[in-house]
Symmetry: C2
Subunit: 312 residues, 2 copies
């Protein structure tokens, strides 16, 4: 029996995913037809989405066993009241690697103050002495899911003093783990470098507001590789302008692409990266999708199911 | 019996080393007088040097059991024909950590192309797709001493494909190790990112000349954290101007401070860092010096003795 999979994501993604999905489904032993076309919703067994509005109303998809998202973030799917089917988010090992590399690169850059040399057009020889070692540098990671755990491990291996904060208690080797909203200020208070890897939920929206930013040590550096709305843009700029915050490196924004007139672009204390920290890779992501379809057909539990109560 | 140690290094270093050396010698159980003053050379038991010309003529130091250098590089001491006493170079664990961090930071920066975002004043949202993962990136390290080995381990842990090259055969877990001048071109041929951590000797001076630079893959990036004269400056600039080489990040130079009119400063393909990759730290280095004096007094073999035949 052939299962019908509708690839309900941006059309330009289809060219990247068509061949890897066909291969991965064949490798998983699943007989499937995958189509990017609008088909009769009542005939679709699985929907592949990319958190975009190719499908707005999920109610006609009466037979769909799961909505399989290509990205890690599922806030738009979860916010759609017509979507009552199970949702699986993407946990792509290659994406986790890419995110870990982005976080390590940005943390090392700020740890060693590389910018002053990269931008030193003046030609001044100004060696700094007494540079801190990583084992003297406190880094706090907000969010200890797949991505936060991987970043914590990599930074720990580089000797950084890692504090992790998450909603639910976690235990990571070599890191101080704090849990729950009551411990957030404590986690922020030591963060010379703060890395945000939280999911976007009703609880994390605007989590980093003026009051929370004020808990950071003076001249702290903030790296947001999660979702834009977790951070209060105006409070961030005010903290930078006041000299309280040292720098912000941001990969995600409330509106993407970041509008050309947004103050982040021109602010000397902000580095904008255009949502490139970690992209899902078709080769590895297709295998995760195929494995979930195989599980769905075999009646086995799906991987990475979204718990609707907590929205990620 | 009190041993006499002359601190024959730059006077401004003395303020950093006086207290740590006194503490380390006391901790090692050595009764010593350490002085930065010019004393009767014939009475000195140990000389502490910093590869600078505070002492030019070592012949009057007839009683000296060892010359203990504060820096890893000993090329200036080895080049002094009056210095026939044993020389110990510094292997400071904190310096190794600092160098590893510098190498990781610069490799990650070039691996992910951070500069285009750090310098993006134009405010252009240009996400790049198909970014390589570290496990798809070849990094070659020239020099597999303490520093090269530590860098290889850290880069390997971050998933980079590491090739190491050294004069003598070395075996490092997870890295392809090539040895001897006959294998150098092979080591260069895959180096998307090349890290130079060689000692400066007659064999390594001008090792990276025009012919060797031409062996690198097109648009390779070069990082020199070893010694300036290993690299042919003019050949480097020619390779950058021709577009063959992608970038050079240099921490060391033939003349330091790098003269204000040197073309490296203004070249868009060169990042200058002012010899800050790894400084010796008084706290840890003083313990290495004290341990060697303890060994000398106890008749035990000294640590990190320079083999005069190979000059490092």
């Amino acid at each position: 029996m052939t299962v019908l999979v509708q690839f309900a994501a941006d059309r330009d993604l289809w060219s990247s995913y068509e061949a890897p999905l066909a291969q991965a489904l064949a490798d998983a032993g699943v007989a499937a037809r995958v189509t990017p076309d609008a088909v009769d919703p009542a005939t679709v067994d699985y929907l592949v989405t990319a958190n975009a509005a190719v499908v707005d109303d999920f109610r006609p998809y009466t037979k769909v066993k799961a909505v399989l998202n290509l990205w890690a973030g599922v806030e738009k799917l979860v916010g759609n009241p017509t979507l009552t089917q199970p949702i699986a988010r993407m946990v792509d090992p290659a994406m986790t690697e890419a995110m870990t590399e982005y976080v390590v690169a940005q943390v090392m850059r700020h740890h060693l103050g590389l910018d002053r040399h990269i931008q030193n057009a003046a030609g001044a020889w100004r060696p700094e002495r007494g540079q801190k070692l990583a084992r003297e540098r406190d880094v706090t990671i907000l969010g200890l899911g797949e991505l936060g755990q991987a970043a914590a491990a990599a930074l720990g291996a580089l000797n950084f003093r890692v504090t992790g904060w998450s909603r639910q208690p976690r235990f990571l080797p070599g890191a101080l783990c704090l849990a729950g909203i009551d411990r957030l200020d404590e986690a922020l208070s030591t963060a010379e470098i703060l890395v945000i890897l939280l999911p976007l939920t009703a609880q994390t929206e605007n989590l980093l507001d003026a009051a929370r930013l004020a808990r950071l040590p003076r001249r702290a550096v903030l790296i947001n590789a999660a979702r834009g709305p977790i951070l209060d843009d105006a409070a961030l700029i005010a903290a930078l302008d006041a000299g309280d915050l040292g720098h912000a490196t941001l990969d995600v924004f409330r509106q993407e692409p970041l509008p050309a007139d947004h103050p982040f672009w021109a602010h000397p204390g902000v580095t904008v990266t255009p949502h490139i920290a970690a992209e899902t890779r078709p080769g590895t992501a297709a295998r995760v999708i195929a494995e979930n379809i195989r599980r769905g057909e075999a009646g086995e539990p799906l991987l990475h199911l979204v718990e609707r109560g907590r929205a990620y």
